[in-house]
Symmetry: C2
Subunit: 203 residues, 2 copies
């Protein structure tokens, strides 16, 4: 198999961090996102949604969507479990993965894509008012997350999971999106520091 | 356990359709979303994100997020499998669930929330330009989905899955969002018809 990778973009990074945490090596094929290679051929034939990452299996089957690719590797290599163990824990990981994804990761991405001048050709039409509207929503969610993290080490409980990977990539993406974690959210800052100090963070 | 339900809103409906397909009965507690009951107490204590549905277990543990609640029931009652069977099939269901959710379900929801006058107090600030920007993206995705559905009966393959439930609820939500499936997308229309004719569609 091979993984078509998108360099610094946050979704390809989520899969790379996941693979390092799992201890799985997959050959990476770099795709030049800045040069819009993912929107031309042959990438569009591989993923008509023109997004990365894309996993191609040895028999040519294509798998896209960050979390679907991660789940495939979780099924093949269950240890260490990054989607939880047992019914309730798996549901909790799914809940926090989705909460962080929808309220933090997507919000930061919308702010970046709809405000940053470099995104003008990527996000058509670019609607700065929508980008700005996401910033207070991101901060509101971070305040909720900060209260949750007062009682536990990781996003979904005592164990590191895919919810933390989504959190790490979202928090790091706040820099180009020009949103800052307020200094009073000490639990979020401690969590970010802990995630950033793992070897997987450099993936 | 009990499920705090939000009536006609599309996310609560996704869980109700899922439960009917599974043959699981869970006591429903209606929450008056029109009266903003989900944004007051005690619902905010149950879900600080102030969204529905919310599942409360007998020991008081709270589970939120539509897909997390569905996955919990899938773990407890594996048959019929609505998240796929085996590594690759589960990944494919996850891929299509997410593709349909992000490109159709969320797009339709954004168009509804940012344009419909009744949503003015719900979506602050309401940004009609953003609502309108979602409409062509929804139609673009439906055209891609139509080509995919030429070869298979359901969204993720030959078996009905949670990806179809997300699709059904999104397609039905297009009516209040005032977006129409173009008549040339015959595969999407056939799929919508098939999903609508199942007993679960009335949930």
């Amino acid at each position: 198999m091979k993984l078509y990778d998108g360099g610094r973009a946050p979704n390809p990074r989520r899969v790379r961090v996941f693979l390092v945490e799992k201890g799985i090596e997959v050959p990476l094929v770099p795709v030049d996102m800045a040069g819009m290679e993912h929107r031309g051929e042959p990438m569009t034939s591989r993923n008509p949604l023109q997004r990365l990452p894309v996993l191609e299996l040895d028999d040519g089957i294509i798998l896209t969507e960050t979390v679907a690719i991660c789940r495939y590797f979780e099924e093949l290599h269950p240890e260490p479990a990054l989607f939880g163990r047992g019914a309730l824990d798996r549901a909790m990981v799914e809940m926090w993965q989705r909460r962080i994804e929808q309220n933090l990761f997507f919000g930061v991405a919308q702010a970046f894509r709809h405000i940053h001048p470099a995104m003008k050709e990527w996000e058509v039409p670019q609607i700065p008012a929508w980008g700005e509207a996401n910033k207070p929503k991101v901060l509101e969610f971070l305040a909720i997350l900060d209260r949750e993290l007062a009682d536990r080490e990781f996003a979904a409980g005592d164990d590191y999971s895919i919810a933390d990977i989504t959190g790490l990539c979202a928090l790091d993406f706040m820099k180009p999106a020009r949103i800052q974690v307020p200094p009073e959210l000490t639990n979020v800052l401690r969590w970010h520091e802990a995630l950033s100090s793992r070897p997987s963070a450099s993936a």
